[in-house]
Symmetry: C2
Subunit: 289 residues, 2 copies
């Protein structure tokens, strides 16, 4: 816990931890790019890599860089609101992932000014996934995704439990306006149609649950947060995720002990990426194979 708080204070700007992503999504949309490319950014924020237009080289800067570029506190909130107000008309999809007012600049500014800082939510939306919540005091919580078993063609399958997810979200201390960083839906091209259907179902269900609970959703591609933590091209990505999460959140080591806990690790890392936390240099080393 203390160590987690240490990690938090080690991060560039815990006080403005949610600004980077919003600044980023606004900045990304303000870039001079062909219309379809800007729109592709929106598509990229919606779709998994397989769908991303190849000809559009849209890169997102890592969070800390943005944090460095982002003004602080009240001013930053106003700035973010301005960026959002500018961005929304160009990106109706991202605008549709938050209940924050966007039609009126003043209202948006007010909402953004009132928006909480220091909180971050991370979601791995699959049935084997989890949701993590980071508090301004550096403490963290992680919950496995609630699911139910159903039988399809005599095969038992897991499906997300809508009621439990909504009750879980309503029970969180994170105030309305908190940004929820959800891993972009990325079904494997090798998956079957039912796999693609299920991935889409879980993604849509989580997005609607989060937005209706008052949180602002920001989709993050898995390779984005993995690159941020230096987990790219890992031989055993799931083990590395658990190792990295254990370093960032020492009080969660027991919750990350087993291989099946990689969903918890990914939810924690998504939230940590959004909050701008960084791995202490030298502590992490990829799992040897």
């Amino acid at each position: 816990m203390a160590a987690a708080a240490g990690a938090a204070s080690a991060a560039a700007a815990p006080a403005t931890s949610q600004d980077p992503m919003n600044a980023l999504r606004a900045a990304a949309l303000r870039r001079s790019a062909p219309h379809w490319c800007a729109a592709a950014a929106a598509a990229a924020s919606f779709f998994s890599p397989p769908f991303r237009p190849r000809r559009c080289r849209f890169r997102r800067a890592p969070a800390p860089v943005a944090a460095a570029r982002t003004p602080r506190s009240r001013a930053s909130a106003k700035a973010r609101a301005k960026l959002l107000a500018e961005a929304e008309p160009r990106d109706p999809w991202l605008a549709s992932l938050s209940l924050l007012p966007t039609d009126d600049g003043a209202a948006a500014a007010a909402a953004a000014a009132a928006a909480p800082t220091g909180w971050a939510i991370g979601v791995d939306p699959d049935t084997g996934g989890a949701i993590a919540v980071l508090s301004p005091d550096g403490s963290s919580q992680v919950f496995d995704n609630p699911f139910v078993h159903i039988v399809v063609s005599e095969v038992i399958r897991k499906r997300l439990d809508t009621k439990s997810i909504i009750q879980l979200l309503r029970g969180l201390k994170a105030p309305p306006g908190t940004t929820a960083y959800i891993e972009k839906s990325s079904p494997f091209p090798t998956d079957g149609k039912l796999g693609w259907w299920s991935t889409g179902f879980s993604y849509g269900l989580w997005i609607a649950s989060l937005v209706s609970s008052g949180f602002s959703v920001v989709p993050v591609a898995s390779q984005t947060w993995k690159a941020y933590f230096g987990l790219s091209r890992s031989e055993s990505p799931k083990d590395d995720s658990r190792q990295a999460a254990s370093i960032l959140f020492p009080d969660k080591v027991l919750s990350l002990k087993l291989k099946k806990h990689h969903g918890r690790a990914e939810a924690l890392l998504l939230a940590a990426y959004g909050k701008g936390l960084m791995l202490p240099s030298g502590k992490f080393s990829k799992t040897p194979t």
Copy 2:
């Protein structure tokens, strides 16, 4: 409007219009059937026909029959609560589609007794779909599904607008506890993987939006409500849906004029099926081809 009210009063029991489905889902689950078959009913209520286990001959009686079997008013509410309380442990999936308490019989009874009657919501979840709301006074409303355009691989696609859907649901007069009859997700086996992903996404997004807005979701297979209205094996199902909806809701004729309005017709018919409305005999004839 007056005619619509007439149609409503023509229905077996507008006052208990929501009982049939709840009684049905409870009754269906109380049937003596092999475990996997009962579970398959849950699966069937979740999945589209292609996924329904062939060996499980699970039939749902048409709503009016159930209405005739269902006790009225306060007694019926208690009965329904009892059925629900009995049913839920056997069908966690259906239980997960409502915020109504199910863990405590008394609480469930209270909730069911407080549950509104005479209201029904129908949802065709696809981007080209719509949502219909039927009131106790026989009046009806229908709204096209809000969507945004995004660009994927340089192709413009429609995606549901989460924010607008939630705001739309919050603006409805239908009280919490109203049952929302959503068409079961049924991607065509001939659809591509992206089509299956999108269908699952829309289905999950609508389910979470409805449940979080306090409505109880009941999935209905398209062939179930079509058989109920005698629209099965139609040569031009979409035109027949618009014709049938125009007969049930004369004040909506202008809103159902064009071929592209079939989504509105299906939403209205789903709600009408849930409410137990019936087509006046002799008025409807399938479109000749």
